[in-house]
Amino acid sequence: MIAVPRKEYRESLAALRSEVESMGTAVLDQLSRALDALERDDQKLAREVIDGDERINQRYLDLESDCIDLIALQQPVASDLRFVAASFKILTDLERIGDLATNLARYALAGRSDEIAEVQIQTIGETARGQVRAALDAYVDADSAACRAIAERDDELDASCQNASEAVVRELIAGESDRWEIERLLDDVSRLLLTIRDLERIGDHAVNIAARTLYMDDGDPKLIY
């Protein structure tokens, strides 16, 4: 094989990969700051995260448009097609993770999340964030083995979330709080359950990213179905 033709096309593909990575890094940053806001009950930081979602949404729309241009103008096939198709889907997952980070920031604004000592929101949050980080790395490195590992680890995150939700409900039932105390706790408890659910969903999006990456890397759609 001599010099590779279609220079502009090759450059567009490379640019898309680095732009998706860059958007992923921005989303991870939003997620870290949302978790910090929850931990430190930092209202200012929470507001910054909420305001920052607009930038993520704009990047998402721009990159989606880049993918459509690539398909329309360059008609990619084979591994190039799988790369563009996977990136197109992964962008949606990243945007959704951004939205969920915003949800976490809103919960931080609404009140504390450490009412029930047994529920370690930060630990679960770090696991979910780690999954997103690993999925983004797998995408950038086109690492199939890492994709499969991410899918397997999701079961652990699901189990942690399940345990945490059960702990919240148990605490509510077992607590000797009077009726007024329960009324007071209701908001906090609902919010805590929503926080757990959103962290679990972040993990699901990480698995989606891994599944599309596996398809992109070696055409294996197994994790998608």
Binding site: M1, P5, R6, A151, E152, V207, D220, L223
Partner: protein, 307 residues
């Protein structure tokens, strides 16, 4: 990806998509799938079976040990760079290469089970049943009507049959019914039915090509070979030919050589990729070949990575 590690395509893994979060499978089963080798097997009957076909032009070994089954009532696309042997291969399917004195052909080509290279095969009959449409439209310099009627008249197919005699139809009526049927099947009737006695050379390029397809249909073929039938046409005429090919494949077996990979992707059920040196490198369902080819050389070729 090495050529021996073939991930499965959707055929055996597709399930209905749901809105649920993705489920996972064990790494073990994924590994198992990746290592399975899947030979291409199509559904339905084979119309043509080519085994160990070699073609030489003098000392030039133009086609090397090609084996391939062509399923009936489908579109099979042959793609590959110039000089890869795809047109040579196409011409082997109705023995057009016999006309080239330096050509030597080894191997077997079975058409409905019968070896077309065995002694005593009637070439006129073969080429009637395995018709061909060429790159440049080549209508006879005769009227549109005569272009269609010429073949059947030569073959004696227009003799008034019992049914026509019972219905009291004349030879002219029979001929005109055939002309209409072929022009309709070639999606040309509506454009030319008011000028059937005009010279065919007055038609546009796209219309001439559809007339050539209609002419091919007039002798009632089973297989239609097409050698870049749309490469000289504009996008609208090309789209009409592509629609026509799709319609024809409901009744006929179509084998098409094309340089336009997107065209192959659009219209064919299976794709064969020939690469320089006359080698058939990959043959499979079209969506698999364009989405996840087994061969890295095919991947490079269809992605335009060859310099």
């Amino acid at each position: 990806m090495s050529e021996n590690q073939n991930p499965q395509t959707q055929t055996d893994t597709a399930t209905t998509g749901t809105d649920q979060p993705l489920t996972t499978t064990t790494g073990e089963s994924v590994e198992q799938t990746r290592d399975e080798w899947r030979e291409y097997e199509f559904e339905g009957e084979s119309k043509m079976t080519v085994e160990n076909l070699d073609v030489y032009y003098g000392d030039d070994h133009a086609l090397k040990d090609v084996s391939m089954e062509i399923p009936e009532q489908s579109v099979t696309a042959l793609i590959g760079p110039s000089g890869c042997g795809k047109s040579t291969y196409l011409r082997c399917l109705n023995r057009m290469n016999d006309r080239i004195s330096s050509a030597r052909i080894d191997g077997t080509v079975r058409f409905d089970g019968q070896d077309i290279y065995q002694d005593g095969v009637n070439l006129v009959e073969l080429r009637k049943r395995v018709g061909m449409v060429f790159q440049s439209p080549n209508p006879f310099p005769k009227s549109i009507r005569q272009n269609i009627a010429y073949g059947p008249e030569k073959h004696g197919d227009l003799d008034t049959g019992l049914l026509a005699r019972l219905l009291n139809r004349s030879d002219e009526e029979e001929r005109d019914r055939l002309v209409e049927r072929c022009l309709r099947d070639a999606a040309l009737w509506d454009e030319v039915n008011d000028r059937l006695d005009d010279n065919a050379l007055g038609l546009s390029g796209g219309q001439q090509q559809r007339l050539c397809i209609a002419r091919c249909l007039s002798v009632d073929p089973e297989i239609i070979l097409m050698d870049e039938p749309a490469s000289a046409l504009d996008p609208i005429a090309t789209a009409k030919i592509e629609d026509l090919i799709e319609d024809l494949s409901e009744e006929y077996t179509v084998v098409i050589v094309t340089h336009n990979m997107q065209q192959a992707a659009r219209i064919s059920d299976q794709t064969a990729v020939f690469l320089t040196g006359g080698e058939l490198v990959e043959y499979g369902e079209t969506d698999q070949v364009f989405e996840d080819p087994n061969s890295e050389r095919v991947e490079d070729y269809i992605s335009g990575k060859f310099g």
